[in-house]
Symmetry: D2
Subunit: 337 residues, 4 copies
C-alpha cells in the first residue's frame, strides 16, 4: 500500500456549497485520497451567543454550509464512493443549539401546519471540554447544568442527486445529505451511490453530540476539523446510503412518513444481507426481524431518516462486505495517524 495523497481544504467565506448538486467542484481528488477538512457549523457561524436568534442573524437559504464538493476521479453513475471518518474534532470550545420557529418534532411546522403560535426562540450555548470529551449544557431558565459525553459526528454527508436535481443542504434523501444520524462518527465508513460523473462529495453540519431523532431540530452544532479517507468502488451500485463500522453494517432510509423511512432502511438491509449471506430474502427478513437495531436519526428534516443496523458477526456464512473496503480504510486511517 503506497502512501495516500493528502488534500487539505478549508473553505473561505464565499466558498461554501449550499446545495447537493448544482455546484462546481472545489477540487478533484483521486480515489484513495485523505481529505483534511474544516467545516463551519449549520448556522454558517452566525449564532455565537444567546442573543443570536436564527430568525435574525441567519439568511435563508444560506444555512448548513457544506465543505466541497469534491470530484472523485473516475466516479460514474453505478459506482459507490466510500467515505471513512478518520477523525472529527470540534474546532471551537463552544457549540450552539436553538429552537427555530416552526421547526422541530415537538412543534407544528410549515408542513405540519396548525394555527397555533410557534414556541419561543431560545439559544443555548454549550461549552465543549475537548480534553475531557464533555459537552456542558446550561439551562436558560434555571441554574441547572449537565455534562454529556462528546460524540462528534457529521449530520450531513452526501453526493449530487440523481434525476437532474439540486437539493438544499438541509435535505436528506437517497443521495445522503442531511441525514443527521449519530452513527456518522469516527471509525465508520459511509457508502454513497454515485449519480453524476465525479460524484461531487461534500460534508458539513458537525455535531458535538446529538440525540436520536434530533427532537428539537438542532443538535450541539459546531465547526469541525475532520479527516476523511475516500475510496471508489467501481460497478457497485448503492441505492440508499449505507454505513459500516467495525461491528455493524447499516442501511438508511429518508422520506416521510417515518414508517416509510423505516421500511426503506429495513428492506435495503434485507437485500444487503441476502446478498452477503446467500440466504433467501424471506430467510433474511426473518433473521433481521429478530437481530436488527433501528435507531432513529432525524424526525425533523424535510425527510425523516431511519437507520437499520445489524452486527456483522451475527450474519450466517457471510462473505466480504463491499470488497473489504472498510477494513482497508481502517488501515489507511491507522497509517495516517
Amino acid at each position: 500500500m503506497s502512501d495516500p495523497r493528502v488534500v487539505r481544504f478549508r473553505p473561505e467565506a464565499g466558498q461554501y456549497a449550499w446545495t447537493f448538486g448544482g455546484v462546481p467542484p472545489v477540487t478533484r481528488i483521486q480515489p484513495g485520497t485523505i481529505l483534511e477538512l474544516w467545516t463551519e457549523d449549520c448556522f454558517a457561524g452566525r449564532v455565537r451567543g444567546k442573543d443570536d436568534l436564527v430568525s435574525q442573524v441567519c439568511e435563508f437559504p444560506f444555512l448548513n454550509p457544506q465543505t466541497g464538493p469534491f470530484h472523485v476521479e473516475g466516479a460514474e453513475p453505478g459506482d459507490t464512493i466510500a467515505v471513512h471518518f478518520v477523525s472529527i474534532e470540534p474546532s471551537r470550545d463552544w457549540a450552539a443549539s436553538t429552537t427555530v420557529p416552526l421547526f422541530g418534532a415537538l412543534t407544528s411546522t410549515h408542513l405540519t401546519a396548525t394555527l397555533q403560535d410557534p414556541l419561543p426562540e431560545v439559544v443555548w450555548i454549550w461549552e465543549l471540554d475537548r480534553s475531557a470529551q464533555l459537552c456542558r449544557f446550561s439551562a436558560r431558565d434555571s441554574e441547572a447544568t449537565a455534562d454529556l459525553p462528546m460524540n462528534p459526528m457529521h449530520g450531513t454527508v452526501g453526493v449530487a442527486p440523481a434525476n437532474l436535481e439540486v437539493r438544499s443542504a438541509l435535505v436528506p434523501d437517497a443521495f445522503g445529505g442531511n441525514m443527521d444520524t449519530p452513527e456518522m462518527r469516527v471509525g465508520v465508513t459511509c457508502y454513497l451511490g454515485v449519480n453524476v460523473p465525479g460524484g461531487l462529495l461534500s460534508i458539513g453540519d458537525g455535531h458535538a453530540r446529538q440525540g436520536e431523532g434530533e427532537t428539537c431540530g438542532v443538535a450541539v452544532e459546531c465547526a469541525m476539523e475532520t479527516v476523511l479517507a475516500v475510496e471508489l468502488l467501481k460497478g457497485a451500485a448503492t441505492p440508499w446510503p449505507r454505513l459500516e463500522s467495525d461491528t455493524h453494517i447499516m442501511s438508511t432510509g429518508s422520506v416521510r412518513p417515518l414508517e416509510d423511512a423505516f421500511r426503506i432502511a429495513q428492506a435495503d438491509l434485507v437485500q444487503w444481507v441476502t446478498k452477503l449471506t446467500g440466504m433467501s430474502a424471506l430467510d433474511s427478513y426473518q433473521f433481521l426481524s429478530q437481530a436488527v437495531e433501528a435507531p432513529l436519526a432525524n424526525v425533523v428534516d424535510t425527510n425523516y431518516t431511519s437507520v437499520a443496523k445489524v452486527r456483522k458477526d451475527w450474519l450466517p456464512g457471510r462473505t466480504e462486505v463491499m470488497r473489504g473496503v472498510h477494513d482497508h480504510l481502517c488501515d489507511v486511517a491507522r497509517s495516517y495517524r
Copy 2:
C-alpha cells in the same frame, strides 16, 4: 419490609384473556404481591412445527392470549400500577416465528392496502439453548444457521383501557398492551396508568428475543415462566406507559403514523424530565434533544410504538423517580430470588 405475598397463576386452556378490558379478573391481589405466572405464546401454542401455518391452525380473534387480568386492590383511575420484571424464562426449548399474510412492515397489509399478492407464509422454529442463553436460527431455504443472544421480554403488558373501551390483545395504546418493545425485560419496572377500579393487569406474548421494530410482525415467540413484583402508586397519573431500569427512564407512545408515536414518547419524556429536574419545558426539550435514545418497538401492530429513553445519571439535579418504587421493587426482587 415484610415478606411480600406470592401468588402463583397458570391459566388453564379456557382461562386466557383475549382483550384488555371486558374480562373479569382471575384473582385479586394486594399491592406488593409477587406474581409467579406462566404465559402461552402469541399463537395460543398452536404453531409447533414448520407446517403449522397461522392461517390454518390459529382461530381469529383467539391470538395473543393474556395471563390475567389481576385486580390490584385499591387501584383507582388516577393511580399508577408499577410492574417489575423479576424474571422471564422460556418454558420450552423452542420458539416459533412466521410470516403472516398481509401483516408485517415489509408487506402491504389490510390497512396499507395494495393489489399485490401477499408474501409466502413460512414458519421458522428457533431452538432455545437456555443454559447458553442462545436462540438458534435455521434458514428455511438454505442450510444457514445463526446463534443470537437470548433476551427474554414480554411483548404485551397492560391494563383495562379508558373510555369504556375493550381492545384486542394485539393492540398497543395508552393502556399499554401489545407494545412489543425489547426494553420490557428483566430488571425493568413498567408504569401503567389506571383507568378502571383494580386496574386489571394482564401480561403475555413472551419473546425469547426481538429486533427493534419487529419488522416481519412476529418475534421469537415462546411460552414464558415469568415473575412480577407489583406495586401501586396512589394519586400518580401516568398518561402513557413509562419504564424505568437501573440506568434509564423511558416513555412510550403508540399510534400511527410512526412520527406521532415518536412525538408522544418524546413529549411525555420532556414533561417527565421537566417534573423530575425542575427545569423549564424548553430547557428539558433542549437537553433531551441531545441526550435521548429513541429505539423503535414495533412498526407492525395496530398502532406503532416508539420509545424515548434517557440515562438517569445525566439528568441535572434530579429528584426521586416515581417515589423510588423501582429501587424498592429491585430490593423485593433480590429478596425473592
Copy 3:
C-alpha cells in the same frame, strides 16, 4: 311488498350508548323495519350557548351519544345490514360548534403532540332556518355572518366491532362508527358488515352540515329526527362500510395515516367494481383511477376517513348492486312518506 313495521324510539337521558359493542340492545327489530329515531347531539346536549365550553360542561367519556343499539333479527357474522336514510331533520332551531383543546386538524393534539399551547376554546351557535333549509354562521370576533345550505347528515352510524372489541362512539373503523362523511345523507343506503349476532346497529352525531375533512373537529352539531329503513343481506360480507346513492357507489376506509385510509377505500372500490363488472382487478384499477371521486370525510378523529365513489352509470356492463336492496329501500321510503 307488505307494509314495513315501524318502530319509534326516543332514548331517555340514561339510555344512550357511548360505545359500539359492549351494550345490550334497546330493542330487537325485524329486517324490513322502519326506525323513527331521535338522536341527541355529540355534546349530549350540554353545549347550548357560547359560554358552554366542552371542557367545562361535558363529562368524558360521555360524548357522542348513540341511539341504539338495535338487534337485527337473524343478522350473523358474514351478513350485511343495509341502512337507508329516509329522512334526517334537525329537531332544534339551533346547532353548536366549537374548538376543543388539542383536538382538530389545525392544532397539535394528544396524538400529534407538541409543546405549544392549545388554541382558544370558542363556541359558535348556528341558527337553523328549517323552512329555508339554511344554517346561519355568526362570527365571534366580528359582525360577519353567512348563510350556508343545510345538508343534514349523520356523522356516526355503525355496528358492534369484530375481535371482541368495544370502541368509543368517537371512533370510526371497519365497523363504521364516527366516520363523519357528508355522504351519509338522505337517500343514501349504508352497508355495514355484521360482526356479532344481531349486528347491534346504532346511530348518532347529527350534523346540519359539515365541510369535507371536518377540519376543526366539530361540525354544525344538532339533535335530529331521523327515519331509517333497515334491511339484512344474508351471506353478503362487507369488509369496510360501503354506501350507495341513486347515482354512486362508495367505499370507505378509516385509519391513520390518511394515505392508508385512501388506500383502503380505493382498494375496496376496486374489488367491488371488479365483482360488479366482471372486469379483472387491473382493469378496474385503471378504470377507477380515471373515474373516481375521493372526498375526504374526517381528518380529525381517532382514525381518519376517506371515501372513494364512482357513478354507477359509468360502470361497464354492471350487474345488480347488493341484490338491488338500495332500489328496494328507496321504494320503501317513498311508501313511508
Copy 4:
C-alpha cells in the same frame, strides 16, 4: 384594455425542460401575454401502443417533459404569477395510461418498500372522441368498454423553486409542479409565488381526464394544445399554489404524509379567507370547517397533493380576490376566442 401580445411556442424534441429550475428560459414574455403552447404527454410521446411498456421505452429521468420555462418580465421573489387556462385541447385522438412497476397508490413503491413482487405492467390506450368530448376506456382482460366525459387538465404547472433547488418535473411542492389536480382546467386561474427573477413558468402533463387521487399513478395522458393568459401581481406573495375559478377559491398543499398536505391546504385557505373577509383566524377556521370541499389531487407522486376549496359567494363580506385578476383574465380569454 389593449390587445394582449400572443406568443406561440411548440417545443422541438430537444427543447423540453425536465426540471423546475436549473433551465434557461425558452423565451421572455411580458405580463399580459397570451401563450399558445403545445405540450407532449408525460411519456415524452414514447407510449403509443399497448406493447410500449414505460420500463422499456422510456428513459429515466426523461419523463414528464415541460414546455417552457418562460421568463416573465419583471417577476421577482415576493410577486405572484397568475396563469389563466383559456383552452386545453387534446392534440391527438388517443391517450395512454399504464401501471408503472412500484409506482401508484395500490402497490408498494420504492418509498413504501415491501418485499412483494410489483404488479404487472399493463398499458391502456384510450380513444379520445373530441367532438363528443368523450374518453373511451377498453379493458385489457375482457371486452368491457366505458365512455367517460372528457375533462382536459394539466397535471403539471409550476415555477422555479426557492432555496437554490432544482426539482424533477415529477415533483409537486410549494413551487407548483406535478400537483395532478383535476381542478387545473379551463376557466381556472392558478397563482404561483415567484422564487427567482422571471419566475420561470413551465407547463406539461396534459390529462384528457383523471380521477381524484390519480390512484394508479397515471392519468389519461395526452399531448395538448393549450392557451394560457399570464399576468403578474407585484408585491403579492403566495406561499403555496392557489387557484381561482368563477365560483371557488382553492388552496393546495403538497407533502407526505397526506394529512400534512391536507393541513397545509386547509391552513392556507384559513389564512386567505381571514385576509379576504376581515374575520379572525378562529372565525375563518370555524366557517371553513363547515363550508370547505377537500378533493384530493394525487396520492402517488413524490409529494401528495390536497386541495381545499370554498365557494366565493359564501364568504361573508368578501373583498376583491387577488386584485380582481381572475375576472380580468376571463375578459382577456373572451376577447381572445
